[in-house]
Amino acid sequence: MDQLAAFGQTVLNGLLQGGVYAAAAVGLSLIFGVSGILNAAHGELVMLGAFTTYWLFKLHGVDPLLTLPISFVLLFGLGYLLQFLVLNRTLGAPLLVSLLVTFGMSLVMVNTALRVWSADYRMMAVPYFDRSVYVGPLIVPLSRLTAFVIGLAMVGGLYWLLQRTELGRMIRATAQDWEMASLMGVNPRFVYAVTFGLGAATTGVAGSLVAFYTPVEPNMGLTYTLFAFSVVVLGGMGYIPGVVWGGFALGIAQAMTETYVEAGLSLLVAFFLLYLILRFMPAGIMGKGRVE
């Protein structure tokens, strides 16, 4: 019975982490699917979102939940400007060009963060997040539950925006045929900027959610870039709902490894899953991704 409970707790931990992974990866999937840009600075957006929440809470006493919209708006603006001023110049260039440009951006972001905030690990202490919900033998930390629910709600919200709104139709049309979209009156450069803005905003919020229960530091981004990339490939490149399945798969696989093999192998698990999926199911778990 104890073993069963431990197993259940492991799966639950994996699911909770997976929901946040989905939130952290959805922006990468969106940006790649629409603009064909592989954003190597993706994890740095997680880091910036996490620091936004940390500092607002620490310096101004803003409730962490209230920092989420601020994180969203700040990162949206940053993403919009990066695409509009920098990445729009790489349109039509090979994938490698945007990869190099975003890699450069990531270096600038990490080193600026190190300079102004130092390499210290910082952890928020939010009283009401220390509580847990008990379901039978299972423990659900409130901070993780909150992050999970908000993360998945955000993925759902983004999906709704893409499917049901005028802006969403403009983004999807541009992703499918940008020339034709421009002949419908859409300015593709504006759409690319809004897309990068939305991708950065959701990623920043995911970073804020991560800050609820893990320490924040300038170098945290790289692992999230790798996790997000794994999640997107697991779910299927460019297929937005796939990030939920990819997130759960990675989250549960990592939790299993931590419980039954050894903690500290989470990166290895991500790479191993990435290898398996590329080897055997290149279109993702659901088979709906793009294969090139």
Binding site: S182, M184, G185, V186, N187
Partner: protein, 237 residues
């Protein structure tokens, strides 16, 4: 209404159009015919701004007195021009309805969207039956209808059609041509690129023959249909 004046257009070092001039008056159906590779699609792409005339003396394009050749495509279509491109180019992963909604993005069409949609469905009942389906599941003829419907959603003053009958079976070609004639009767000016001269010339007020990037003949549609060069080259008679 539309004046294309002596435009020179090319891709890099390859020049495709050599001083091509085409005029379309309000209310007309004007067609451009010519063999593959003559530059017909290049002409359409230049009008809508996807290609630019060569600088500095590449000619000019005006629409209702306004220069088009320096505007971006999204600004050109806002002037009241809509396109049915070669191969329809519907948005494959979007539903038929969403494709039609995309057509009505321009400000002049936005407010009238519901009404125009009803008109398009009346013109193409098949599109209403398939409204929820992704466009990639449509047949070639249905895609062509969707592309025409999407263009009509923009409430255009001028409709450009690039080989709307390409790859369609003869009965569908006839139906599409009949639809274009009806669209014109509603007051929409049409510039039509069409290989099926047998269908397109009789309904054209005027027509141009484009060969090797130059206009070699022009005149009333019915007259060109009797022209010996046209009969030999395009009707195989």
């Amino acid at each position: 209404m539309l004046e294309v004046e002596a435009i020179h257009v090319g891709y890099g070092p390859l020049q495709v159009l050599w001083g091509v001039s085409v005029g379309v008056k309000e209310g007309e159906v004007v067609s451009v015919i010519g063999p593959n590779g003559a530059g017909k699609t290049t002409l359409i792409k230049t009008i809508v701004g996807l290609l630019r005339p060569r600088a500095p003396d590449g000619g000019r394009i005006t629409f209702r007195g306004r220069r088009l050749d320096r505007l971006a495509p999204e600004e050109i279509v806002r002037q009241g021009i809509a396109v049915v491109p070669e191969g329809a180019r519907v948005f494959p992963e979007m539903s038929v309805l969403d494709n039609l909604r995309m057509g009505a993005l321009v400000p002049r069409a936005r407010g009238r969207r519901a009404q125009t949609l009803a008109e398009v469905f009346a013109l193409f009942p098949r599109l209403e039956e398939r409204a929820g389906q992704p466009a990639r599941t449509l047949s070639g003829g249905e895609r062509q209808m969707l592309a025409v419907g999407r263009a009509l959603m923009a409430c255009p003053a001028l409709l450009l059609l690039d080989e709307p009958s390409l790859g369609l079976q003869p009965t569908l070609v006839k139906a599409i041509m009949e639809t274009i004639r009806r669209i014109n009767e509603r007051g929409i000016t049409v510039l039509l690129i069409e290989q099926n001269v047998h269908f397109s010339l009789p309904m054209s007020h005027r027509a141009y023959v484009l060969e090797h990037g130059r206009i070699v003949l022009e005149g009333p549609g019915a007259e060109l249909l009797r022209d010996p060069h046209v009969r030999v080259s395009y009707l195989g008679i």
